[in-house]
């Protein structure tokens, strides 16, 4: 299926659980990984993405389509549109979905998605107390009580002004 000049090419992406998705090449090459595979001659067949499952890949494709539909690079109004698209896209995701998205962005080498999801996770974490962060993100406390007290003592100044657990 060689691309003819002027005809938009569609790629088929296959997730690691064998789901297949059609996506326009112009959207798909937001992923440097996919772009490299196309340049290496995979365009004819199906592009296997071994590190992404179907559910996550579907979301990524929604993102790719949404972003590539907004024209213009650098124009302020378009940047605003891209920003509101990203905010809406990420707004309802729980932590596990966000984690899957950021891993997919990492594997697919999509810096704009990586930036957006990292920023979103950071936004959820910011100014929250330790206990809340541990619970929300499933972090195991691997400090002994003495070690933890020592670390907190060292950075005592950072614990004021951050909401206490009671506030949440």
């Amino acid at each position: 299926m060689a691309a003819e000049t002027g005809t938009p090419t569609t790629l088929t992406l296959k997730s690691n659980d064998d789901e297949r998705f059609s996506v326009a090449e112009s959207a798909a090459i937001l992923s440097v990984t996919i772009r490299n595979m196309v340049e290496d001659g995979c365009a004819g067949g199906v592009i296997p993405l071994d590190n992404v499952d179907g559910k996550t890949l579907a979301s990524v494709i929604t993102y790719m389509n949404g972003i590539s539909a907004i024209p213009g690079v650098g124009a302020a109004a378009d940047e605003e549109k891209k920003k509101s698209f990203r905010d809406k896209f990420l707004s309802d995701m729980d932590f596990e979905t966000l984690a899957d998205m950021v891993l997919a962005a990492n594997y697919l080498n999509m810096s704009c998605l990586m930036d957006a999801v990292s920023a979103k996770i950071a936004q959820v974490m910011e100014n929250k107390p330790v206990g809340w962060v541990r619970r929300k993100f499933g972090i195991e406390n691997d400090y002994t009580p003495e070690e933890e007290a020592a670390v907190k003592e060292e950075h005592k100044w950072t614990f004021e002004g951050v909401e206490t657990d009671d506030d949440i």
Partner: protein
């Protein structure tokens, strides 16, 4: 399917943590050992953090005669969130290291004196903070409050070539030479101010941090009265001062750390004579990386210089009706500090209160630091995790660690 944030690979964790506000980074360090080590073990952390870092404020309380040893951090995004009402949340961040008490030679005829180890907060450049000893003892030091390191800067010599009076000291950076430098402006006087024939002259010296001398430079600071201390801002490689002397010339004066020369900035072309002379209602600051001037002569205007040094690039960006709050216009001076994330403008008012102005809603909010303490100095500060040795790039300076002292002392000597 990942169950824990810590299961994500280190490069992703670095992307996330480096986007957190400074205090949240330290809170996350106490969550688990993975996060504790992340900033130091990942080579990209420091530069990623610097690319996302937002400006904070460092505050020293106490007046010029009794500056406190505790230095406080204000995170403007937290401080201006409505949760905390009208009181600015300050956190004691570190205490100035204790230097040995030094006897000073001046006033030898009266038996000399003993400096009580009072250091004042001067300015901050690229995450490094500069302090100098109050009055005559010539000692100063640079510290990084995040890495808790400090180096002592070479003493300058006030008694060389006769009596000198230090007007101010500023830490700056020269990109081309990749070096930190300190500017010292001092004056010498012949006679007494009330005597006939009294002559006062202003001089400048530069010390390259890590070098073995203070160098007198050819360029002379303007001799007009400048509020050296309260009206100065650091912008990239320059330090700028607003001249409070009502004079047509010398509106804003700056020193360039790279060329080591002084320069002048002219007022907006539309400024009439009256307006140019009315300096008491003006102040300078930095917003969005640009030099700006606040002027509440008639109404409250903020002029932004879009291109440094280009007089025609002065743009009246904001016209503020300060009477909207209380019915009466509010007297300044207002020093613009930074834009907040939501587009609001944070300013210092009368040197001891914060004001947050919303250009969309046209609303003012006043925040105070708490009436008990006198606000000595408020300095814009953007933290850096880069160790001092790497920042300064000099081998012959001894980097010391700031002692772990209780930042919440019951008394502040």
């Amino acid at each position: 399917m990942e169950d824990s944030l810590t299961d994500l690979p280190p490069n992703i964790l670095t992307e996330i943590l480096s986007r957190l506000p400074i205090k949240s980074i330290f809170v996350s360090k106490s969550a688990c050992k993975t996060f504790l080590d992340l900033p130091s073990s990942n080579p990209y952390f420091n530069s990623l953090y610097s690319s996302h870092a937002t400006q904070c404020l460092l505050v020293q309380f106490g007046d010029m005669y009794k500056p406190t040893r505790s230095i406080h951090l204000v995170d403007p995004e937290i401080a201006t969130s409505s949760r905390y009402g009208e009181r600015v949340k300050v956190n004691p961040m570190f205490r100035i290291p204790k230097y040995p008490v030094k006897y000073f030679r001046r006033f030898r005829a009266y038996g000399g004196g003993r400096n009580k180890n009072k250091f004042v907060l001067l300015n901050s450049c690229k995450g490094l903070v500069y302090f100098a000893e109050q009055t005559v003892c010539e000692r100063s030091f640079i510290c990084n409050p995040i890495t808790r390191e400090y180096v002592t800067v070479l003493d300058y010599d006030e008694e060389k070539n006769g009596q000198q009076l230090t007007m101010g000291l500023w830490l700056g950076f020269s990109e081309a030479e990749n070096k930190y430098k300190v500017l010292r402006i001092y004056c010498t006087a012949i006679g007494r101010p009330w005597e006939v024939g009294f002559v006062q002259e202003f001089w400048a010296q530069v010390h390259v941090v890590g070098s073995s001398s203070w160098r007198d430079i050819e360029a002379r600071p303007p001799s007009r009265y400048i509020d050296w201390d309260t009206c100065s801002v650091l912008l990239n490689e320059t330090v700028c001062w607003l001249c409070r002397y009502p004079d047509i010339s010398n509106f804003i004066v700056f020193f360039d750390f790279e060329t080591e020369k002084f320069g002048e900035i002219l007022p907006p072309p539309s400024y009439g004579v009256d307006q140019t002379l009315n300096r008491q209602s003006m102040n300078i600051g930095v917003l969005g990386g640009n030099l700006c001037v606040t002027d509440d002569t008639f109404h409250f205007d903020i002029w932004v210089m879009k291109e440094f040094g280009n007089r025609d690039s002065w743009t009246k960006e904001f016209v503020i009706d300060s009477a909207v709050h209380t019915g009466e216009p509010i007297d300044g001076p207002f020093q613009p500090l930074q834009f907040l994330k939501n587009g609001k403008i944070l300013m210092l008012w009368n040197c001891d209160n914060l004001v947050c102005y919303d250009p969309k809603e046209k609303e003012f909010r006043f925040l105070d630091f708490g009436g008990v303490r006198t606000v000595g100095k408020v300095v814009p500060y953007t933290p850096t995790f880069v160790p001092l040795k790497e920042s300064l790039m000099v081998d012959n300076l001894v980097v010391q660690n700031m002692p772990r002292e209780d930042p919440y002392p019951s008394e502040d000597p």
